[in-house]
């Protein structure tokens, strides 16, 4: 483990999986994952992300399409010939083997000299801060330690591609955030291509170079976390990543008309977006005023229904006076200290913060 080695490209083309008698679990997935990229498959359960991962790993044979690793087609290869590493949900550590033997397992399958095995296992355990636990059995470890063993076992042989299936799903929130940082660091150190499956959007935003959002067996959008948050292609992505205020309606020339016949100014958009029919405003872009004065381009009146204290910030929940839509405003610096629950307010946003998106 002396120098960072290089990750491999992974290309999925027209990847489709139909299980007997069911509709396609994965349908026509096309995705290019660059060498060394941290790619996250994000989506609700049943969206096809794990099935896609299992097709890359070789546990599931695709019905159609291909998986290429560094340009080489691997569809016919069994999992053990694909040179991948995988971290499983709930870790799948071998209960009859010690930590050392678990981590040494892939090296021994590769008939590496015992001396080298000892050295590499030692280095890898150090890397995940488990030096002292080599002789323990998995059942003697905490959840976080087991997770580290699972990672160590998957990276000890420096696979060019590391697959991770909700590796932090079984841990509590604090530990999860700690290990997220470690995984990020590990990704930089190891240099492998990471493919990471999760349904946790915060985790996806925190870790990934790129995110592929899955929905009903298809990829809805691929992009950097910033792209997806700031510029979601559709309502599904917008709702899945972060909190959002959604106003349904339709575009009318240079304005947006809500279902409740309110008109809002929007940025000039390409005419191809004629059918877009939702306006997205992130909560941190919303402004409120209790005295009816608000220096923004769009506004509407609303009632404060709840104020949620979140420590570093507050979340103000409102109900629009016309139509009754729920709206969320995030206050970050105490600027709305005069807002009270039940109060009538004016809520609004600047035109450049309102995003016109597909409603489907």
């Amino acid at each position: 483990m002396t120098s960072a080695h290089h990750g491999a490209r992974v290309d999925l083309s027209k990847l489709t999986k139909r299980f007997l008698g069911e509709q396609a679990a994965v349908h026509d997935v096309n995705l290019a994952i660059g060498a060394g990229c941290f790619m996250t498959f994000l989506g609700p359960s049943g969206s096809g992300k794990t099935t896609t991962l299992n097709m890359i790993a070789g546990f599931i044979q695709p019905t159609e399409g291909s998986v290429r690793i560094d340009g080489q087609e691997v569809s016919g290869l069994p999992p053990n010939k694909r040179q991948l590493g995988m971290v499983f949900q709930q870790y799948a550590l071998f209960p009859h083997l010690t930590v050392f033997e678990n981590v040494a397992y892939p090296l021994r399958r590769r008939r590496i000299s015992e001396e080298l095995v000892r050295r590499q296992v030692g280095e890898t355990l150090k890397r995940v801060h488990l030096e002292g636990l080599a002789v323990k059995y998995p059942s003697q470890l905490s959840g976080g330690q087991q997770q580290r063993v699972a990672v160590a076992r998957a990276i000890v042989y420096q696979p060019p591609v590391l697959l991770m299936d909700e590796p932090l799903g079984a841990l509590d929130r604090k530990l999860r955030e700690e290990l997220q940082l470690e995984l990020s660091r590990l990704h930089r150190d190891v240099g492998s291509t990471f493919i990471y499956v999760t349904h946790d959007q915060e985790e996806a935003l925190a870790l990934s170079d790129r995110i592929a959002v899955f929905r009903d067996g298809r990829i809805e959008q691929v992009g950097t976390p910033q792209d997806l948050y700031a510029d979601p292609a559709c309502l599904f992505v917008a709702r899945f990543l972060g909190e959002s205020n959604i106003i349904l309606g339709r575009r009318d020339a240079d304005a947006f008309v809500s279902r409740h016949k309110q008109a809002f100014a929007i940025e000039p958009a390409p005419s191809a977006m004629e059918n877009e029919s939702a306006l997205l405003i992130r909560p941190e872009s919303m402004r409120i005023s209790g005295d009816g004065k608000l220096a923004v381009e769009s506004s509407l009146s609303a009632t404060v229904t709840d104020i949620v204290y979140l420590g570093a910030s507050r979340k103000i929940i409102l109900k629009a006076s016309v139509g009754g839509d729920d709206l969320i405003v995030r206050e970050t610096s105490g600027q709305y200290s005069d807002i009270r629950r039940g109060g009538e307010v004016l809520v609004g946003w600047n035109r450049r913060d309102a995003k016109l998106i597909r409603a489907t």
């Binding site: 070789g58 999992p79 053990n80 995988m86 499983f88 709930q90 799948a92 397992y105 892939p106 590769r110």
Partner: protein, 558 residues
Amino acid sequence: MERSLLASNYLSSRQVTTRKRAFGRPAALAIPALVLLLLVTVLPLTWLFAISVLDPVPGFGNYVDLLSRAGFQRAFLRTLKMAAIVTAVTLVFGYPYAYAMTIAGRKTWLLLTLLVLLPLWTSLMARSFAWVILLSDNGVINNGLDALGLGRLPLIRTEIGVTIGMAQLLLPFMVLPLYNSMIGVDRRLVLAAQSLGASRLTALRSVYLPLTLPGIVGGATIVFIMSLGFYVTPMLLGSPREAMIAPYIGVQVNRLLAFNMAGAGSFILAFAVGIILVFTARFLNSGNMIGGYSGETGGASARRLPWSLRLHCTVVGFILFLPVPVVILLAFAGRPSFEFPPSEYSLRYFVHFFTDTVWSGSLRNSLLIGVCSAALATVVGSAAAYGLTRSGSRWCQAIYAILLTPIVLPGIVGAVAAYVFFLRLNLSETFVGLVLAHSVLGLPFVLITVSSVLKTFDRRLEMAAASLGASVPETIRTVTLPLILPGVITGMVFAFVTSFDEIVYTLFLQGPDTRTLPVQMYLSVTAEVDPTIAAASTVVVLVTTVLFCSTYLLRRSR
């Protein structure tokens, strides 16, 4: 055992967890087991059936002839009656006992469980011998009654004797299904019924009893079916003039060499069993039988048992335990008599057991046949269990059920069929023939235990091994096998003990050179007054106890 253990597993373990496998056709691994079953059970049954309908003339003449014989009718009716009595007795004794197990504290629960399982691991021949001693006209019970001034009762060679002998052997098969259905009942329901105005007795009758009905029907079915096929116990404890159907069939084969009649009798018996199974299968399928019996669940509440239950359990436990000390004490007898308790003590019958060529030879045969058949059953059965659990096909569940048929097939039917067929193949009286037959009887246990560990086995461990670079054989060697080993060993021990204790098939298939210990014991009981049989019984009980205890400890340590 006359009938193999854990019969009811047949029922629950039918639902094999199945999932698609990326590689190979694992179901093919069941082929050796099927070949074995074909050779020892399927082909012999077919052959026997063919004889019964073809010899001397085609048609069902033999069946008509047999059914019209007064002797057969009496034997058949008596068998049905005895089976009904034994079922009723085990239910009446077993229901409160099982109930006590569900409410007992941890230690009491363990004691009750050990006692009820006792007949499963203290040799059938040893227990039968003990009951011969206890029930005989000058036996312990009659001496006791006489001393109390109640006079002597005819017990041995009566239906009472047979009932006692069969009921205590079959009690576990009643208690375990009952216990399993009872622990599934939410006890608050009885309290709820009481809060709604029912008296305690009404609450039990209107709520608890119906909810435990699957256990009652399941246990009753197993006990009834097993009673129908009992062979050795009625021969030792019953009267020759009051033959039951299994001995009646045995006589057709052994004395009269009327294989066609034996075949007809066997299939009439099998038909009766089949009819019962058709009606009760849905209760047996409910899955709450021994398969779900974890052995770790009891003793949740630490309540003291009510005195009535304590008394009941003490009596039942005493009856179950009684044969063990009787046999052990007799083994240390100093004189060639079965007086109990012995007036003199010595080790001479142990010495005789290990030095006499007939006795020690039969022990050697039993050990050899036991080891060989257990090894065969383990290899073939484990492979089949692996293949069947890992294949997604619906056929696999059917194959699994077929491989368990030796459990529900009445011993006498299978034994007669194997005997007639092996005679044809020149396999009877041979070592190979006995090993094959015993391994088929052990196969279901291996299949059940290995399947049950495979079902709880985390398949992702194999996926992990594959992702880490292990080939399929390497995965099996380094991950699967080490993790299922406890199940494999348990199955092997069960298979060994099944063979070590087997008597019905062996009585038919053995010859002068292949006489096993249970057969030698059987011949000794029927022919002579020789306390060596007590020494032999003690050794057998010791061997099985040590085997089961070490298996249990092995599983605990993992």
